[in-house]
Each structure stands twice: as structure tokens, then as C-alpha cells.
């Protein structure tokens, strides 16, 4: 198949692709058992970017919303403790536990963030979330260093969860669980000698973690804490990620997902227009499977929901026809973001 043929968006196939993932998955995906919410996020938000949220009928919409709410961890019944609150990624540990071991059932920042995005995208009014508890759940996970752990029970802490915590706080319109000053300090410490940003201080700069850091600074209105030198250095580092598509680190291979991670970072810095859209677009399309739908990280390899969503999101950033516009910081569509604004207004009048 020639590139000319491949450069059409296989819209119908991608819709089918996401709809399949919303239903049932093969046992080969068992290692995704605890992160099913993220698969739902890629599928629901992917359909939204495709302008096809209506493919999810009312019945399915209700099922998804109910399923997400069921994964919400509520305050401890006896003690009222809220440190475990958040969304779980699946119902694997969705069981009632006693006081001695209740901490094994706890929210996970990435699941809380993507769970909230799903609810917003499906037009839910967030009336069934326990806002206060979710904020307390975020608060319990910030470390002395300023970054965040994913969960209360035994997880690593790094830049990914700083980003998730910032998104949650933004969506809940409540920053009392997020120490902005400390987080900003952590982010600035993680800027490397090449001006990219790493998962934690002194590690190698990475496109994904640079996105997490910049989006957090944007959501917390701290971008002005970067010096001119840092901003110009970041611009250079990010722009040099473009080969045809983008890579995530110097001298690594190009990968579809960085059309979003790097593209969105550049958009946040307001210089995405300085990239070459044509080459970027062409690369992403080379990773499209136009028969069964989906995108992969490299041409002629296996597709997956994450690269499919991020491929579409990356194309949306450069204004691809037929795709809805994306808010680069929160990684949801403008349509869903407008809905969030009405919820914020409602909350503001209630309080």
C-alpha cells in the first residue's frame, strides 16, 4: 500500500477499534488487569477526539459511568480517614477489608485522573464523587521532595504522578491537597543540563516526563517560574525531538506517542507551529492500521489503545480534519473541557 493511500484517516475503523476495547479484551492483556480504567480512558476519549462520542449509546454510557463510580474508594467507615480515597483501576481488590488491612484497597492517582476524564467526557456532572475525600487522597501522596506517589501502599513516586495530582486538583477545582510551591521546586530540580525534564532529578531528560512537568506548571500557573534560559533551552530540546515524527530522547527512535507528548509540550510553550506538520503527520499515518483500526508506536508493529489515542491526539494538535480539538494540559477534548467549566461554575455558586 502506498503512503498516499495510507494518509487518509481510517475513521470508521478507529471507532470500531475503541468500541471493541470498551467491551471485552483477550486474556493476553491480563497484565493490564489493574489499569483497566486507563484502557477505558483511551477508548472513551479517543472516540471523543474522533467526534464519535455518540457511538457510545445511552445504555453503554450508563454502564461506563456506573463502573467508574464503583471504583471510587470512600472514606474509612470507622475512622473517617480519607488518605486511601481515589479511584482504583479495576475491581481486582474491590473488596471489603477490615481495619487491619483496609489500606490495601486504595486509589491510584493515574486511575483517579483518567477516571475523572472519562466521567467528564461522557457528560457526567460529577455529582457522585466525594470531592473532599479525593482531595485528601491526593494530599496523602505528596512526598517531602514535592513529587507524588501513585498509591498509598507501596509505589514509586515520580513526575508522572505530579502531573496526575495536578490534573485531579484542577478538575476538582481545589488545590488544598497539592503543595504547588514544593511541586514546582521538584520540577525545576528535574530540569537537566540539556534543558529537557526527567522523571526525577538527575535522570535523563524524557519527552513524556517533560510533558508531565510542563503541563503541571501550566495547570498551576507556574510557567513564569522558569527562567528565559530554561524556556529557550526547553524549546530547543523539544524541537530537536522531531526527526519526521518525534522521539522521546536524543538518539532514540521516533514513536507515535511523542507526537502528543512533545507536541503538547510545544503547544503549552506556544511554539508547536514551529514544527513541521507535514512530516509529523506522515509518520503518524505510517503507524496506522487502516484495516482493523488503531495506531502503533512504529510502522508495521502491533497497535494498542494508548498509541491509538495519542496518535489521534497528536494529529488533533496539528489541526487534522475530522478530529476534535484537544486541551493539551488535561488531555481531554475542548468539548469535555467546556463541560468541566459549567461544573466549576455550579460548584462555585453552591459554595
Amino acid at each position: 500500500m502506498s503512503h498516499e493511500e495510507r494518509i487518509e484517516l481510517a475513521h470508521r475503523q478507529h471507532v470500531k477499534y475503541f468500541m471493541r476495547f470498551l467491551n471485552i479484551l483477550p486474556s493476553s492483556l491480563s497484565s493490564h488487569d489493574t489499569t483497566r480504567v486507563t484502557i477505558a480512558y483511551f477508548s472513551v476519549c479517543g472516540l471523543d477526539v474522533l467526534g464519535s462520542i455518540s457511538s457510545i449509546n445511552l445504555e453503554l454510557r450508563q454502564r461506563i459511568v456506573d463502573w467508574i463510580y464503583q471504583l471510587q474508594v470512600h472514606p474509612n467507615k470507622e475512622s473517617g480517614d480519607m488518605s486511601s480515597c481515589g479511584f482504583q483501576g479495576s475491581s481486582t481488590i474491590n473488596i471489603d477489608l477490615g481495619a487491619a488491612n483496609s489500606h490495601y484497597r486504595c486509589g491510584h492517582l493515574a486511575m483517579t485522573y483518567t477516571g475523572l476524564c472519562i466521567l467528564l467526557t461522557l457528560g457526567d456532572d460529577l455529582s457522585r464523587i466525594n470531592r473532599k475525600a479525593l482531595v485528601e487522597g491526593v494530599k496523602a501522596l505528596q512526598t517531602d521532595e514535592g513529587n507524588f506517589s501513585a498509591t498509598l501502599s507501596g509505589c514509586e513516586s515520580d513526575m508522572r504522578f505530579v502531573y496526575c495530582a495536578a490534573c485531579i486538583s484542577y478538575i476538582l477545582d481545589d488545590w488544598s491537597g497539592f503543595n504547588i510551591e514544593k511541586a514546582t521546586e521538584y520540577i525545576i530540580k528535574s530540569i537537566n543540563y540539556d534543558f529537557g525534564i526527567a522523571q526525577c532529578p538527575e535522570l535523563e531528560s524524557h519527552g513524556g516526563t517533560t510533558f508531565c512537568a510542563l503541563a503541571t506548571l501550566a495547570l498551576t500557573k507556574q510557567l513564569d517560574k522558569l527562567s528565559t534560559e530554561q524556556v529557550e533551552g526547553l524549546k530547543r530540546w523539544l524541537l530537536f525531538r522531531q526527526v519526521d515524527g518525534f522521539n522521546g530522547r536524543p538518539n532514540k527512535s521516533v514513536d507515535t506517542c511523542y507526537s502528543f507528548w512533545v507536541g503538547a509540550s510545544l503547544k503549552i510553550l506556544d511554539i508547536l507551529h514551529m514544527t513541521n506538520y507535514g512530516n509529523n503527520r506522515k509518520y503518524v499515518y505510517e503507524t496506522q492500521d487502516c484495516v482493523v483500526g488503531g495506531f502503533s508506536k512504529w510502522p508495521d508493529t502491533c497497535t494498542d489503545p494508548m498509541h491509538t489515542y495519542l496518535g489521534l491526539a497528536g494529529l488533533s494538535l496539528i489541526g487534522e480534519n475530522g478530529l476534535l480539538e484537544i486541551v493539551p494540559t488535561l488531555n481531554i477534548t475542548n468539548r469535555a473541557f467546556e463541560h468541566l467549566k459549567t461544573i466549576h461554575q455550579k460548584w462555585a455558586t453552591e459554595s
Binding site: A40, N101, Y104, E202, E204
Partner: protein
């Protein structure tokens, strides 16, 4: 990792094991109408039904320790299983050395899994013994020299336990093997920054090292970035170190047009302008010329960026001319 439930013929489900008769399995409650349902194998469901049951009971026993192994094998990303396993290790007083061996074998199978590396780190913290960490991460980096997890664990172990002594040799090997290995260059910076320090001597040595490697492969972003990083520690900056500036001009004279070289000279010009130390090599006109060359010939994919940089120099140039004019006028008035 895939769940290959039917591949091991000799497998006995937990529900068919007499020694587990006392436990009532707890099946997953995924609500009345779940979505994104994974069609797990019977083995997967069985193991996790029993895991939920013992978790609920809070049973801490050897047989549960074994059960967590089976659960991890089916899904090494389940952080709750790992956490429960750690709590079991503590409660049972299990030999942590054998646990190190075990987690090493899991890391070998899933070297890009966050949970296994976290488990490893906690064990090393408990034991306060990092003797095996350099070898373990070294092995993982042999498989994939850019494995982010392995580098993160390695940096943590080195920094926490002060294991810097042989790290420069390790890094040097990796860079010799693949001069484009950006992770290795980053590690080099890490070692100098935390261990050797940025003395004048070290700065000079690292500058020479980077220049050597650039001579070898000129179009290597990693080495150029490193050179720039080292120069952050040179009081003379980018533009004041004659060794570096003449190195760049030599490359340029010898027809090297790597975008990284041209970008570097542009940055030298920028610094020279800011310092008010213009020369025939480093001035706004030269920078504008290089930006044009990049935008139209050597780095076309970033042409808009180079035009944007060029504009900045044009403004700087105008300001400078303005200044000169004013000075001239001032001189005339003095006459």
C-alpha cells in the same frame, strides 16, 4: 507478559488443592454491567480468587507467600500483590537474600516493569546492602542500554550508598560501544556532578572528552548537549573558552555543517552579544547567516524555529546599530 494458562499441563488449580480446602475463594465483584472486561484464563481467576480471600482474612503464611508468586507471575504489574508480599516477608521473617534472587529473576523477565524495580529498591533499603545492584542494573543495561528503570535504580543505589568509584569506567565503556547512547552521557554528567566535581581541571577534561567524541561522530546530539552542559560550569561560558570556540571554527572550516555545530556557534554568538564581546566570528551577522543556512539547507525541518531565532538577532543588531549611531552623534556633539 501473557497469561499462558493452558501451557503448563501439570498445574493444579487452588480450588482443587486439599491444603487450601479451608479457604473460600472470593471472586471479583465487577458490578452488574462491567466494561473493558478482560477474559482471564481459569488459572488467573483461580489464583486471584484465592489472593482476595487471603487478603480479606489477612492471612500471613508460607502458603500465601507462594500464592503471591503465582499471582505475580500472572500479572507482575499488580502492585497490591507486591505490597502484600513485602508485608508477608516482614511478618514471616523470610530470608531477604533469597528474595533478592527471586526478584532478580522477575526483573530479567520484565525489565520494564515499575513494580519489580520498586520491590527491589525496598529490599535493598531493608538490607542496607547494595552489593549486587551495580551488577544487576549492568546486566539489564547490557540487554537494553537505555532502559530508564535500570538507570533510575542504578542512580538511586549509587547516590544512596556512594558507589561512584567504578562508575566512570562503566560509562566510558558504554559510550565507546555506542557514542550516541544519551543515557550513558547523562550518567557521565551524573558522576561528575555528584562525585568528581566541576573543578577547572575536570571541566577541561570533560570538554576534551566531548570534543574527542564529536570529532568521531559530528552529528551526535548527545555529545553536543554534554559539551554545552559541561560549559555551564566554565566561568568563561560558551564564548570565552578558546579551546571550544576554535574547535567549532575548525569543524566549520572543514565543511562540517551538522545542525548541532551551527546551533552551537549561534549560541556562542548570542552569548558574545550579551557580554558585549563581539568578534569577527561571533556577531549578529554571523548568527543570522547561520540561522539562514539552517533554515534553508541544513535543518529545514526546523526552518520556522531558525527564522524565529534569526529575528531575535536582527532585533539585537538593530539595537546595536542604534547604539552606535547615538554614540557617533554624541561624539559629534563633543567636537
Amino acid at each position: 507478559m501473557s497469561d499462558s494458562g493452558d501451557s503448563d499441563i501439570a498445574w493444579t488449580l487452588y480450588k482443587d488443592r486439599p491444603e487450601w480446602k479451608d479457604i473460600t475463594p472470593v471472586s471479583e465483584d465487577d458490578g452488574p454491567n462491567p466494561v473493558v472486561v478482560i477474559a482471564h484464563s481459569e488459572k488467573f481467576e483461580d489464583v486471584y480468587d484465592y489472593f482476595r480471600a487471603v487478603l480479606k482474612k489477612n492471612e500471613k503464611s508460607e502458603r500465601v507467600l507462594q500464592l503471591t508468586k503465582d499471582a505475580v507471575e500472572l500479572n507482575p504489574a499488580n502492585y497490591t500483590v507486591w505490597q502484600y508480599r513485602r508485608d508477608l516477608l516482614k511478618a514471616l521473617g523470610t530470608d531477604l537474600r533469597s528474595e533478592l534472587d527471586y526478584v532478580e529473576s522477575v526483573i530479567k523477565q520484565s525489565p520494564k516493569n515499575y513494580q519489580v524495580w520498586h520491590h527491589r529498591r525496598v529490599l535493598v533499603e531493608w538490607l542496607q546492602d547494595p552489593t549486587l545492584e551495580l551488577e544487576l542494573t549492568g546486566d539489564a543495561l547490557l540487554q537494553d542500554p537505555k532502559n530508564y528503570h535500570a538507570w533510575q535504580h542504578r542512580q538511586w543505589a549509587i547516590k544512596t550508598f556512594g558507589l561512584f568509584s567504578k562508575e566512570m569506567a562503566f560509562v566510558d565503556n558504554l559510550i565507546t560501544e555506542d557514542v550516541r547512547n544519551n543515557s550513558a552521557w547523562n550518567q557521565r554528567y551524573f558522576v561528575v556532578n555528584n562525585h568528581l566535581g566541576w573543578s577547572d581541571l575536570n571541566v577541561q577534561r570533560e570538554i576534551c572528552y566531548a570534543m574527542e567524541k564529536i570529532k568521531f561522530v559530528k552529528n551526535n546530539e548527545s555529545a553536543w548537549n554534554y559539551l554545552r552542559g559541561v560549559l555551564l560550569h566554565d566561568k568563561r561560558g560558551l564564548s570565552g573558552n578558546a579551546v571550544v570556540t576554535s574547535f567549532c571554527e575548525d569543524l566549520y572550516k572543514n565543511k562540517c555543517r551538522s545542525p548541532y555545530l551551527l546551533a552551537f556557534i549561534i549560541d556562542i554568538c548570542d552569548e558574545a552579544i550579551k557580554k558585549g564581546e563581539l568578534s569577527c566570528f561571533h556577531n549578529p551577522d554571523r548568527a543570522i547567516e547561520l540561522c539562514t543556512a539552517l533554515a534553508t539547507k541544513y535543518d529545514k525541518i526546523r526552518s520556522k524555529y531558525w527564522n524565529y531565532i534569526s529575528e531575535k538577532f536582527k532585533i539585537a543588531k538593530n539595537e546595536q546599530e542604534e547604539k552606535e549611531k547615538q554614540q557617533e552623534n554624541g561624539d559629534k556633539m563633543d567636537d
